[in-house]
Symmetry: D2
Subunit: 116 residues, 4 copies
């Protein structure tokens, strides 16, 4: 789809503003809601092996997509309310990760950059 993070964010913020929710949506509350939704996403995989997690995705794709959408919606709105350009932040992070994880060192490794 052709939607950018920006265009989705405008729709999300319009939705919230129509409902007068800005009063509840300060950065802290948004971070709390994101953590809670990330917890709901995690719930689907607790005690499952990595192999079973693939099966779980087949069995529950709609439910998992819905939890992931919840995290994304909150994240896009939070960025907007914090004056953060999320697309730029992602681009910057990818550039930082390219320096932290050079292919020659990081290939095939699950180590953190400061342990490589």
């Amino acid at each position: 789809m052709a939607d950018t993070i920006d265009s989705l964010t405008r729709r999300i913020c319009a939705f919230c503003d129509e409902r007068d929710w800005a009063q509840y949506h300060n950065p802290k509350e948004m971070a709390v809601a994101i953590a809670a939704e990330a917890g709901e996403l995690l719930q689907h995989f607790v005690w499952q092996s990595n192999e079973q997690s693939l099966e779980r995705v087949s069995d529950r794709r709609a439910a998992i997509a819905s939890e992931m959408a919840d995290v994304a919606i909150l994240l896009f709105e939070m960025a907007d309310r914090c004056g953060i350009d999320l697309t730029q932040a992602i681009t910057d992070k990818l550039a930082a990760n390219a320096e932290r994880y050079p292919v020659a060192k990081a290939k095939g490794s699950n180590k953190k950059y400061n342990e490589l």
Copy 2:
């Protein structure tokens, strides 16, 4: 910026594939990493009042943007590996929320849809 979730996702997955990380990036591990990064984002606001959280964003905007980018990057990659179109899932969720939270009932309220 003109990047779509799709175009960002392609860059993220190319980054991981160059490093042979698909072996670690099954749905479960992605959900675990997302929860851990959401926890790091939350750390910035623990014990802070809602008002203080605005100040915190001014003081730590770059660090907070960086945590948010981490969550987004993992979320976009996870959706791709799960065969989930995240833009579509967000659009579907906004439509579902519009039904769950009609303006007339939800305006100015912080209640969950099943308590409205």
Copy 3:
């Protein structure tokens, strides 16, 4: 050690009361802090295989013990402030789990009780 949850809780609450922290320690803030500390504990294991996680515990036992203590301290205090007897709640939960997970059905299985 002979300390009960109760005796530890009394020490924790005395510590907080001496510092006038009750004003910050309402149930919501406690739940937020517990989630953030659980996230810190999780950080130690992100991207690690189950086997690697055993090694990690050997390498970082003191740090992991310290994160676990943080979760426990907050949990004990939160229970007290909510008028919840945590020892009783644990005992009740173990009894409920014994019914939900009868040995004959649950032995060797990682399924949730509603899937057994």
Copy 4:
């Protein structure tokens, strides 16, 4: 009640061992489960004000006690499987906190020790 963390832990581990669950209960999986349960606890308070959170506890005390018991049960078992004496870890942490947060500096403040 007179139960210590140790005596509760012995009951919890016996429960799991009868069900052959040690194979699933490595440190990583325990940390994942703790984060997921902490997320469930947090769910009860999302978007609620601190004042509303007190009401929520009155309305849902049994459910909240049950989530808290889940976190505690997993935490006690994880400590045991990691060779960590949780009572000792709590005692050590309280001693460390007493140094980090001297009453004279920390009284009435919600700042972190490294910001005091």
